[in-house]
Symmetry: C2
Subunit: 324 residues, 2 copies
């Protein structure tokens, strides 16, 4: 069993997650661009988790978490709350593992996201965002059914699963000196920091979040978790209000710093990805690239890994960003 | 020297081109999608030339062609006429090889394409599409300067260069039974047919073109080159009016058939690529995928290679296709 202690998430856990994900998750490609290198002065290697199953890295952690549920308990199912990529990640992972999934989603979530989650076979429970607490609904459902609650990031198995992104990148690309990772609750960042620093001691790992939602940056500066109001940003996958309890100590211990990017820098990165890379990135998914393009890190002459975390963006919204 | 006889383009020429392109062209990733497989009943492998340098396969043939110009003749430069990907392919290849490039483009070509071509260091010569013949302008320029004319497809070195797309795909993916290739003038199709049938005898190679521009389909049915009027289609890379003189005999000899897709099927494929694959495809670049999605070929239960030829599409146009 994986302990709840943060320092108990080790590189061995990431390697074990990689074994579980073999042949199930895509080993996503690493893309390079001379235009990007010319513009930034770095040698950049983009790990394309927007090309992962269901369009984001979230599938990795969800699958690793659900695969660890003992066989005798699986029939009772899993419960998660999310209106975003975590919902689809849990729904798909549960389906593949033959586990019933219930996803608690706000009644005003985009129809396309509800449909995609249902397409993966999950039961959707709607709630009114104004009057009801989704965490309570999910906890009550899980208790009633004896189901396992699958949290979006604050869980050792989730963290280990997300760490396989960096594991693959560092296997594929030698001598990376800097790693830029999008962060919301910190599951991807913590997992990648564990893998990256184990595989290449001395690598400088940075989290990247939207300026308006700089809870990780504030927390990192203070050395303790800071809570902020729900941030207004186009990066809907990064609207967390505080770092995770488990993820923050890992980030604090292993990362070099937290960088922030403006919404306009996110849009510019999405347009660059469209025009020059031919890759669809969602706002949150483009944040590490945005930090690179905006010159937030000292990368000149260095080999830099950049994690593109997802590509699930509504067509109308994407169109408006491309052609304003 | 490569002979001008069509059957003189051999798999050895493709292999030699691959050597020239090593470390210069991207070895583009092969992407799979369970959603695509579930929808089509096939196991599809997408070779992503939209992730190639300058955003399309055209760079391969242009580089291979220009690299074969003897050192003593290079200073006289190269000339090409194109308002599309061939222009950028020639401009970039020439720049890398230190050869001056002149591109003849219509004065009403999109500003973004003119700018991109100029960014690669090419000289642009504009002409009035209504009153002047671009071929004559290019030939005159080439003659005046002693420069080499780089044709878009009807050239053995171009054909061999484009064939490296299939060479890489068949190296990376075993046992492909069907190969779907976008075709305009037939350079990519002919080159890929040479490589594919050499590496896997018995593979069924199909060209795919827009319904409105079915010059290859008509020619294939008749067994001889048929000329049509300039087709009206959103597939601007496939508005050729006849198969190439060199490419057609190769296609006739090695291919299983020519498939056609409607503009609406091209749009649907582009939307599918956006929503499910997170890949930006231009209309022509999506045509092989469109044929797969529209059920044009017998692919059920088969392993199918699909070449995505390019991703250069204007942002406003792409936005209009995504969110009509």
């Amino acid at each position: 069993m994986i302990s709840r202690r943060a320092d108990a998430v080790t590189f061995d856990d990431v390697r074990a997650a990689a074994e579980r994900l073999r042949g199930v998750a895509h080993r996503t490609p690493v893309v390079t661009s001379r235009t990007l290198d010319a513009r930034t002065g770095a040698s950049a290697f983009l790990k394309c988790e927007n090309l992962q199953r269901m369009g984001a890295f979230k599938f990795r952690g969800a699958y690793n978490r659900i695969a660890l549920i003992p066989a005798a308990e699986r029939a009772r199912g899993v419960v998660a709350f999310s209106s975003g990529n975590h919902a689809q990640g849990v729904a798909l992972a549960a389906k593949l593992l033959g586990v019933p999934a219930t996803i608690v989603m706000p009644s005003d979530a985009p129809a396309s996201k509800i449909a995609a989650t249902r397409e993966y076979g999950a039961e959707i429970v709607s709630y009114d965002r104004m009057t009801m607490n989704r965490g309570e609904i999910a906890s009550r459902l899980a208790a009633e059914r004896g189901a396992a609650l699958v949290p979006p990031y604050d869980d050792p198995a989730i963290i280990a699963g997300q760490g396989t992104v960096a594991l693959e990148l560092f296997e594929d690309v030698a001598d990376l000196e800097v790693l830029l990772v999008c962060t919301g609750g910190g599951g991807l960042l913590a997992g990648c920091a564990i893998a990256a620093t184990a595989m290449r001691p001395g690598v400088a790992v940075y989290g990247v979040e939207p300026q308006a939602g700089d809870d990780f940056a504030q927390s990192f500066a203070r050395g303790e978790r800071v809570e902020i109001a729900v941030p207004e940003t186009i990066a809907d996958g990064q609207q967390t209000t505080a770092p995770g309890e488990l993820t923050f100590p890992i980030v604090k211990r292993l990362c070099a710093g937290i960088l922030t990017v403006s919404d306009e820098e996110l849009r510019a990165a999405m347009r660059f990805a469209f025009e020059r890379l031919k890759l669809v990135m969602e706002p949150s998914g483009a944040s590490a690239l945005a930090a690179l393009l905006a010159g937030r890190a000292d990368v000149r002459g260095k080999r830099v890994g950049v994690i593109v975390s997802g590509g699930n963006v509504d067509a109308a919204r994407y169109a408006a960003i491309l052609a304003p």
